[in-house]
Symmetry: C2
Subunit: 458 residues, 2 copies
């Protein structure tokens, strides 16, 4: 019987542990679904986790390790004794076991691999980076020679151990192990037992290179509505299969990264992964380290904008009311630029902006920025002009907003585009530069226009 | 033979059409995979699309309609003649057909439903909103009485028409149609033909209510690594199945919405869907309508901040150098607030921030904001103090940044939390309010502190 996991389940387990009914608490944990086991375990205090761990069975430990975040899983794995770790690794899905092994101390990894019964399944997966197709693929799928008959395939499937992963396809390969076709399990059920696998397997399947990055692979799965994607090496040999749930997790990760990068919540080196739970629950100093660099750059931009104001101090002293419209010029430039940047980054990530036709998109964005500047600027300009009884001031505010917003929109596309051309992630570092440049130029344009149109007052 | 789709395929089709080799162009389109057919068709000029459409076969039209964005699909469907539309609808997957029908003119919808052979499959799906589990589910899956034997199930599957959707499970129901279990097709293949379905179907399956919103359903699929999720009505009867690819699309949509909402790229009413391709390629005036409301609010915030400056004009005239540090106070508050907001929104969307323990998260965020304010403010304050030879000015800048960033961090959590408590989307409208409030209070705090510490100079 599976217990649905709620906050009450957690409260119950905590009470049982407090009252030292450890076995009852363990029984409840064992009855949960894997994701819920991990969630409950994750919510316990570290010392309670360590007390409990020696009493949790290897398949429950495996479930928990599979579902925890990489760092947490590695920390937990390193607190296990050697034998318990090996048992848990053998119970884990091969791709998850490989990920975990990759995060362990080298010595511990070697020891664990030596002890593991499933080491041969896991070793080939260790070769690829975690965020590549090779790093996400599993070795837990059905593959048969294309010449085998359907009836034979059935008998083989019945005699082999069941697969943990849910890959709902079977793959056909030739004598060299090269992928030659794919069939849905439903097609297999509907086929005649005497048909060779080749006759029902579709040879025109989508596949991905083992070296492709996870986002490319995930986009293929998504674009073609697949449940799983075969992964091949350069010779076309089938080396693994990436499943839709891994793709979904990969796309979530990329979306989170885009969101955080856009507001500068990642170190500029892009080394620190954008982990939402770190930002919400992790050590405060790590959150600082991730968030502060962007704000530091922003601060320098603000100080330089201040320097611009400083150099126009005489004009400002003569017409003190000029100070009043500094905020509107700054805030409009910054926010219009942020909109453009995010539209570029998202459109590029979803493949809607082809860099080949970039000039067209840039012009369109410029028109949008200028258009919004004209309309909103007119509004602000009229307010400024009437309020202060100075039509020229209104004109200065209007023209400043048009220039700033046009510039902000263009830069919002140009800077991330430049990063793409340099081979960098368009999201990383685009925002701080844009904020800084816009802050400076907005104020500069404003004072230049003021001198031009209000020169007679100075 | 399937042709892989690249920009060269598009160029080839365009050349063939120019040279009036329409049949060759159509042959190439027919050979593409569904997603690629739609991408190619979407890239053609509207008048070319209309010329071509009468010559495209109903299954190709169905493929294209399934893959196009809702609005584009509806526009295309309305340009078809009545018979071609009915044929295409019959070829479409039931959930896609229902989505399309829901977007058509009421009269056209009724006519099409009357003509359709598959109307009975589609009609029940029309009842639910597009973004609910009911709106995403398909009626194209295998379901059998729990008492049937495995061998019987096999024979039934062989005699029924194949399913287009790839739901790799079979569902077991009781006599009232209530869902009682689920089995993977792989389990079915491994089972003994004499076993009843009940014996191999897992009764502890995850299910979702037909009225659940799409994000809830997608999160369940993701959390429990499922390929498909059964959808039940209030009586527990199986009414449909939602597949992983629909879930992935739903999560993408939600991620895009979060990204756009956070930078105010959606109307405040939240009515306009955050469609990246609209923002990148749609009519310019629609993009304006989506982007301008947030900037208008921001502008009002900037003007009010200006009003604050205006009310301290005397102080500013006395110590004109005060103007210099307005930008740094504004930009730091705005950017720190934006970081906090996005961390709250993302953490909430991913279920990492439990609203029950909100106070703890809020305090943590306040500490982070104040901490960053102390460090960065000290830096800016030292620069200001030494540069101008006015230690008091340095103190004013330092304290302003501490206050502003602490306030920005708290508001960045408080305002979206308030929206959650009011039952609104935390992302919608959080940003403009925060930007506006921070712009105003930052400048206000700065001048209040200036009066306090620089009063002797005024």
């Amino acid at each position: 019987m599976t217990i649905p996991y709620t906050e009450r389940t957690l409260a119950l387990v905590l009470r049982l542990l407090e009252e030292e009914h450890r076995d009852e608490a363990l029984a409840i944990i064992a009855s949960l679904l894997p994701a819920d086991k991990a969630a409950l375990f994750d919510a316990l205090d570290p010392q309670v986790q360590e007390q409990l761990l020696p009493h949790v069975g290897p398949d429950d430990v495996a479930d928990i390790l599979e579902e925890l975040h990489d760092d947490d899983a590695a920390a937990l794995a390193e607190s296990l004794d050697a034998e318990a770790l090996v048992q848990a690794l053998d119970e884990m899905e091969p791709d998850e076991a490989a990920d975990l092994l990759g995060d362990l101390e080298p010595l511990l990894r070697l020891q664990a691999l030596e002890g593991m019964a499933a080491a041969d399944e896991v070793r080939p997966l260790l070769r690829y980076p975690d965020d590549s197709a090779g790093g996400l693929m599993t070795s837990d799928y059905y593959v048969f020679a294309e010449t085998e008959r359907v009836g034979q395939v059935f008998r083989r499937m019945r005699s082999e151990a069941p697969r943990d992963e849910e890959i709902p396809y079977i793959y056909a390969v030739d004598e060299q192990g090269r992928l030659t076709g794919v069939a849905r399990l439903a097609d297999l059920i509907r086929a005649h037992p005497e048909q060779p696998l080749r006759a029902i397997a579709d040879p025109d399947m989508i596949r991905v290179s083992v070296e492709a990055d996870q986002e490319t692979a995930a986009r293929l799965l998504q674009r073609y509505d697949l449940m799983a994607l075969p992964v091949v090496d350069t010779a076309g040999r089938l080396v693994g299969v990436m499943s839709a749930d891994d793709a979904m997790a990969a796309l979530e990760e990329e979306a989170s990264e885009d969101i955080y990068l856009a507001s500068g919540i990642v170190s500029l080196r892009g080394q620190e992964a954008a982990r939402s739970d770190l930002l919400v629950r992790g050590p405060i100093w790590r959150t600082w380290r991730v968030r502060a660099p962007f704000l530091l750059l922003t601060m320098l931009g603000g100080l330089v904008a201040g320097l611009v104001i400083h150099s126009y101090e005489e004009a400002l002293e003569a017409v003190i009311v000029l100070a009043m419209f500094i905020p509107v010029v700054m805030t409009m430039g910054g926010n219009a630029g942020a909109q453009s940047t995010e539209i570029f980054i998202r459109g590029h990530a979803l493949g809607q902006i082809e860099t080949r036709r970039f000039l067209r998109y840039l012009l369109r964005e410029l028109v949008i920025g200028l258009g919004m500047g004209i309309v909103l600027g007119a509004l602000a300009g009229i307010i400024a002009g009437i309020w202060q009884g100075m039509p020229e001031l209104g004109l200065v505010v209007e023209l400043s907003l048009v220039c700033t917003m046009g510039l902000a929109a263009s830069l919002g596309f140009l800077i991330p585009y430049g990063l793409v051309k340099l081979g960098a992630d368009p999201a990383a570092g685009a925002s701080p530069f844009i904020t800084t440049i816009i802050d400076m130029t907005g104020v500069l344009v404003y004072f230049l226009l003021a001198i031009e149109f209000l020169g007679h007052l100075l």
